[in-house]
């Protein structure tokens, strides 16, 4: 399998060579086919080697673009450390095995020393056992002895890894409030609290956060945001400049529909891009982007790679359980009846370029994706909302401009618990701090900006000034 590249014979570009033999594999034209992909028949060995070639093609293309960018910026492009994000599901399992196989095939070529494509390949995994039942050790065994770096969802609330500050939502209402008598006007306000005020274990806090959300759509969005934050942090902590994500073509097409429906159109180009450098110091690549879910399933089966079922909030739930579930059902249903739907959608959206405005935008403090500057004003022109109830406390500061449209929705529909509003993890406070320090506000609200900066800073006065997390 390792030498699929070298075995790949040059294709004679003649009509005769390209002609299909009815009822036979499209590649070797002699064997009985075992699978059909987008109307093409493949036998088992040809399918496996075609998959390897396709993966390497996508990965090399992304590597080439990243290297060109690095050469432009730094003058050099040495092999970098690579982190493979492994959930344990079929797509990331196939990806890990394919990239390891690629690295080995390059270094094991006979004779001369060949520089490997990557300095090292490590596995990054986010443990979601705080929310779901996952068989213990199953994912670690997929990593097969490679360096296994792990973070848990509840780490976002543990003081040992984050500063002991939290962000409590005081008011979250989409209704626009422009009444002059309200000093802290705006629909979304929050206050910074210290973790030591309340001794809730991190796991419990995480569960409280998710149970306060109104729908599985919101829960899935927030889970995505936390997972991305942890993966980026894990990659940085292990000095990996490249992070491989296992989104398959089916997953990307599904996300196009679900992210758009959730109001994430502004950040969509970053979230489905073949390569994205939105997060400082970590470039994300999606090398499985040309594989539909069916190809992944057959590849794993025939290459002998076992994966696990990674549960989500809507596992075993009806199709209407969440926007993501319904989008998946729509996309997969279309693809069954019109076999190239997924590839067509993926190829189309990969042409999307982020707008200059999005590249310059501040990251949303919850999801970390670019937040459209005037999401709140834009909404107030479109939405008929109820007037917000007066805030119970006036201690909060306005965070509307730090939230993207979609995260505003999530917060608006969440319930505040008995002990006050929703409590968001410390990284939200870090992000507010980054905004206030690094991005001076427009002159019109410079005063308000300065007040906020001082409020945030006082919580950090006694903290160690270690590296910031995005």
């Amino acid at each position: 399998m390792c030498d699929a590249d070298t075995e790949h014979k040059p294709i004679l570009d003649t009509r005769l060579e390209r002609k299909r033999v009815p009822g036979k594999c499209i590649k070797c034209k002699t064997a009985k086919p075992n699978v059909t992909i987008r109307g093409c028949l493949y036998c088992k060995p040809c399918f496996v080697s075609a998959s390897i070639v396709k993966f390497r093609g996508a990965l090399k293309k992304s590597n080439g673009r990243i290297d060109a960018q690095r050469r432009q910026q730094h003058g050099v492009s040495d092999p970098q450390r690579l982190m493979v994000a492994l959930s344990g599901g079929p797509s990331s399992t196939a990806m890990l095995n394919l990239v390891v196989d690629y690295q080995q095939s390059v270094t094991q070529r006979s004779g001369d020393f060949v520089q490997p494509p990557y300095a090292d390949i490590v596995v990054g995994h986010i443990d979601e056992s705080a929310l779901f039942n996952v068989p213990e050790g199953a994912v670690r065994s997929i990593a097969d002895g490679r360096t296994f770096c792990e973070a848990s969802l509840e780490d976002i609330f543990s003081a040992s890894t984050d500063r002991d500050v939290l962000l409590q939502i005081v008011r979250a209402s989409m209704a626009s409030e422009k009444q002059p008598q309200q000093q802290n006007g705006g629909g979304f306000s929050a206050q910074i609290i210290r973790d030591s005020d309340n001794h809730t274990p991190p796991r419990e806090r995480l569960r409280q956060l998710f149970s306060a959300l109104d729908s599985d759509t919101s829960r899935e969005s927030l889970l995505d945001a936390i997972r991305t934050f942890l993966l980026v942090r894990l990659a940085r902590a292990h000095h990996c400049a490249v992070l491989l994500l296992g989104d398959s073509a089916t997953r990307i097409a599904t996300r196009v529909v679900s992210l758009t429906s959730c109001g994430r159109g502004f950040s969509l180009p970053f979230e489905i891009a073949s390569e994205s450098s939105w997060f400082d110091g970590v470039t994300m690549i999606r090398p499985m982007r040309d594989f539909i879910a069916k190809e992944v399933a057959f590849f794993n089966r025939w290459a002998g790679y076992a994966s696990v079922v990674v549960p989500t909030f809507t596992t075993s739930a009806p199709v209407h359980a969440s926007i993501d579930r319904l989008s998946e059902s729509f996309v997969v249903g279309l693809d069954r009846d019109f076999s190239s739907t997924v590839s067509t959608v993926c190829r189309t959206v990969q042409k999307l370029e982020p707008r200059a405005e999005a590249l310059a935008a501040c990251p949303c403090i919850v999801c970390g994706m670019p937040a459209e500057p005037d999401a709140q004003d834009w909404r107030s022109r479109l939405t008929v909302g109820q007037a917000a109830a007066p805030a119970s406390s006036s201690a909060g500061f306005d965070i509307s401009s730090h939230l993207c449209y979609s995260c505003q929705n999530i917060l608006h529909f969440s319930e505040s618990g008995d002990s006050g509003g929703l409590v968001l993890p410390g990284f939200c406070v870090e992000r507010i701090r980054d905004h206030t320090v690094s991005r001076p506000s427009a002159s019109s609200d410079a005063e308000q900006h300065e007040v906020l900066r001082r409020q945030v800073e006082q919580f950090f006065l006694n903290s160690d000034d270690d590296d910031d997390d995005n």
């Binding site: 075992n34 696990v308 909030f313 075993s316 997969v332 693809d335």
Partner: protein, 113 residues
């Protein structure tokens, strides 16, 4: 009535759709399900096809909401069928005539199973 015995496998999340009582019959220790199942054989004029086998699975094996497995006369999109190691789409799909001792595998490719 004459019956045909086939081996059924449910993997990658498809096993979540099957009634718990079949877990005891499974020869696999992991989450995957694999067991023998008997279905009424068809007649000479109307042999047992995959379509009937899938309807039999839906009626007897699938728990809860049957639409999650089979809806509007079709298997739910996202569930793959493998007959004796090959994609069922190269084997006539729902029209495939089921033989004794066939190994039929259901794989879910849906996110989260």
């Amino acid at each position: 009535m004459h019956k045909v015995s086939v081996t059924l496998k449910f993997v990658s999340g498809a096993e979540l759709l099957i009634k718990d009582e079949f877990r005891a019959q499974s020869s696999k220790k992991s989450g995957d399900l694999e067991f023998k199942h008997e279905v009424p054989a068809g007649t000479e004029n109307a042999p047992l096809r995959m379509k009937e086998l899938i309807e039999n699975v839906r009626d007897n094996l699938v728990k809860g909401d049957k639409d999650q497995f089979y809806k509007d006369g079709k298997l739910r999109p996202g569930i793959l069928v493998i007959i004796n190691g090959s994609d069922w789409e190269v084997e006539d799909g729902p029209e495939y005539k089921v033989q004794a001792d066939d190994v039929i595998e259901f794989i879910s490719t849906l996110h989260g199973g």
